[in-house]
């Protein structure tokens, strides 16, 4: 009896030691190569992939080039997330606006946006025109803010399929650039990311 108790105790201790050994300390990773991949969500690697494909497609299209040689002013509108996941679509738009600036063909405006201005300061500083605290010669004048020529918007939807223990989830990214003078789409593209997972019989 005493011997079997000892065997059980040793076994339990060994199991506990093994389980404790499964953790890993926090460390920095390269999210583009080592980031996690999950079926339900859009992961860092997916954002990087979609952003790169969207940027390449947009720059290659020539849609940003204006006939008068002036840089296009782009308003960053909303990329709607209709996928049911917790995808933060600002990750895509932020990467795209950085690439737009780097292209040398366009600049982005923060004075207007899909959900209101991204930076309220453009409007706020013009409200100082009646404030005698400020030197009125240094207050920004009305009628100087440049209106956008183009708008960047989009949508994310997904299609999920379950067969037995296998789940497949495909995210569809649709990104559009609209000419605000005519309302016509001057560039649009679709990008898909499909992920599949088969769980074990215990369900994880």
């Amino acid at each position: 009896m005493k011997r079997s108790f000892t065997v059980v105790a040793v076994f339990a201790t060994a199991c506990a030691a093994l389980l404790c050994g499964c953790g890993s300390p926090a460390k920095r990773i390269d999210p583009t190569t080592q980031g996690l991949t999950t079926v339900r969500d859009v992961n860092t690697r997916d954002w990087n992939d979609v952003s790169a494909r969207a940027i390449n497609s947009l720059i290659a299209s020539g849609a940003l080039v204006r006939p008068d040689g002036r840089k296009s002013v782009v308003m960053i509108n909303e990329v709607k997330n209709r996928s049911g996941s917790r995808a933060r679509t600002q990750i895509l738009t932020n990467k795209m606006r950085q690439a737009l600036l780097a292209s040398g063909k366009a600049v982005t405006t923060t004075a207007v946006g899909g959900r209101g201005p991204e930076d309220n300061a453009t409007r706020q500083v013009r409200e100082l025109e009646n404030d005698d605290l400020f030197n009125q010669a240094t207050v920004q004048k009305r009628g100087t803010v440049i209106a956008p020529d183009l708008s960047l918007s989009g949508e994310i939807i997904n299609q999920r399929t379950d067969v037995g223990r296998t789940t497949e989830n495909t995210f569809y990214f649709h990104v559009v650039v609209t000419d605000l003078q005519t309302g016509l789409a001057v560039w649009e593209d679709n990008f898909e990311i499909s992920k599949q997972e088969t769980v074990n019989i215990f369900g994880y």
Binding site: T32, T33, Q34, G35, T37, R45, N48, D49, S51, A52, R53, I55, N56, S57, I59, A60, S61, G62, L64, V65, K95, M96, Q98, A99, A102, S103, G104, K105
Partner: protein, 157 residues
């Protein structure tokens, strides 16, 4: 003894032949007289991963200018994981697709890298025998040179 060895060899070959039937490969056909006049780029390669080097073949490296005046590059790459031994191995492992990551880095006229969100590692999945065109677009018109990096996807099963 000799007969037993012969039977074993035949059984092994039959098993191998059966397993090789498990691999899905891509078969291609194209017009013989090509009308295109591509601007080919002489490539200078530096390989550290012998597996990746042997499994992917660089067929061509071409460039062109986009309507916006920036350079676009396409690397035509074929998966070399076909043939008897590759198919036999795939029959055991079931890892027919080859998962890689690729990235374009763009350099300006001073040889300095121009960082952009499009510089990220991007995945590509190659079915044995498949030809893919890995495409990169320069972030702006100042970029004339590039480096294409390819690695096996560490997250692939």
């Amino acid at each position: 003894m000799k007969k037993q060895f012969f039977l074993t060899a035949v059984a092994a070959l039959l098993l191998g032949a059966a397993l090789t039937g498990c691999q899905d490969t891509v078969n291609t056909v194209e017009n013989r007289d090509l009308a295109m006049n591509p601007d080919s780029v002489d490539a200078r390669k530096f390989s550290t991963d012998s597996f990746c080097r042997d499994r992917l073949a660089l067929l061509s490296l071409r460039r062109s200018m986009t309507p916006g005046g920036v350079m676009m590059v396409q690397a035509q790459i074929r998966s070399e994981r076909y043939g008897f031994w590759s198919e036999l191995w795939s029959g055991f492992r079931g890892d027919n697709p080859y998962y890689v990551l690729y990235r374009f880095n763009w350099l300006d006229e001073h040889g300095m890298e121009v960082p952009t969100a499009a510089n990220a590692w991007q995945p590509a999945i190659f079915i044995p025998g498949e030809i893919k065109f890995l495409q990169g677009v320069a972030p702006n018109s100042r970029c004339k040179d590039f480096v294409l990096s390819v690695m096996e996807d560490p997250n692939a099963n």
